[in-house]
Symmetry: C2
Subunit: 142 residues, 2 copies
C-alpha cells in the first residue's frame, strides 16, 4: 500500500505559493498546476493552515505563507497532512493467539524493529526542507 499523494500535493502547494508569491493564488489556480479538483486543494490548505504554515481568507486575497520555507521540512508536511500515523507505518496483525509462544511475542518484537524502519524513513524526510525543493525547481528553470 502506498502513502497518500496528499503528501506530495501539499509539498507542491507550498512550493507554488512561494514561487508565485507575487500573485494572489486561489485554490482554483493551484488546482490547475497540480491538475486536480480545487476542493482537494482546499482540504489540504485547511490542514496546512491548521499547523500554521499558511493563512487563507474568504474573498480574493490569496494565500500567504506564514513560515519561511527553510523552517519547514518534508517531515513537517508529512505530519501535517496525516498520511502515516505515529509509529504505525506497518499494520501489525492484532489478536495473535497469546497461548502460543510465537503469537504471544512476535508483535511486540516486530513493533520495535518496524518502528526503527519507519524512523529511518522519516529521518530522511526531516533532512530536506521545502527551501531545498524550491531552490532545485528554480535552478532547473534557469
Amino acid at each position: 500500500m502506498k502513502i497518500s499523494s496528499r503528501f506530495t500535493v501539499a509539498v507542491h502547494i507550498l512550493a507554488l505559493i512561494k514561487i508565485e508569491k507575487n500573485y494572489a493564488l486561489t485554490s482554483n489556480q493551484i488546482a490547475e498546476s497540480v491538475n486536480t479538483n480545487p476542493v482537494v486543494i482546499r482540504r489540504l490548505m485547511g490542514k496546512l493552515k491548521k499547523v500554521g504554515f499558511i493563512e487563507t481568507s474568504h474573498g480574493n486575497s490569496g494565500v500567504k505563507l506564514l513560515k519561511s520555507l527553510d523552517e519547514i521540512t518534508l517531515f513537517d508536511v508529512y505530519k501535517a497532512v496525516e498520511v502515516v500515523e505515529q509509529g504505525r507505518l506497518f499494520q501489525i496483525h492484532e489478536d495473535t493467539n497469546i497461548d502460543c509462544t510465537v503469537g504471544a511475542n512476535i508483535q511486540i518484537l516486530l513493533e520495535v524493529i518496524l518502528k526503527n524502519a519507519q524512523d529511518a524513513m522519516e529521518t530522511v524526510l526531516k533532512s530536506v526542507t521545502l527551501e531545498n525543493i524550491v531552490n532545485k525547481i528554480l535552478v532547473n528553470n534557469g
Copy 2:
C-alpha cells in the same frame, strides 16, 4: 495508509514453522497461532513457496523450511509478500500540469528524495534476519 499485515503475518508463519519444526504444521494450526482464517495463511504460504522459502504438499505432511532462517531477512519476506512496490512507497500525484514551473519539476524531484526515504526504511529491514527474531522469541520464553 499502512503497509499490509501480510508482512508481519508472513514473518509469524516462518517463525512458527521454525520453532515448531518437530511437528507437521497445517494451515489450520498456523491460523490458530495467528488467529485468522486458514485461507489467509495458505495464500501467504503460496507466496513464501514461490520464492523458495518453504515447501508445502497436499495431504498431512506439514510445511518444511527450505532455507536457513539466517539467510532470510525481514526485507526478503517483505518483498515476497509484495506489500510495497519497488520504489513506490509514496504515491506521487501523476499528471501535474507541465506548463507550470512547479508542476513540471516537482514530481521527479520528490521521486528521488522519497526513494531515498524508502531505501532507508528497507535498509533496516535488511539488517534483521528471521533467525534474530526467532532467537529473541526463544529468549523471552526461557
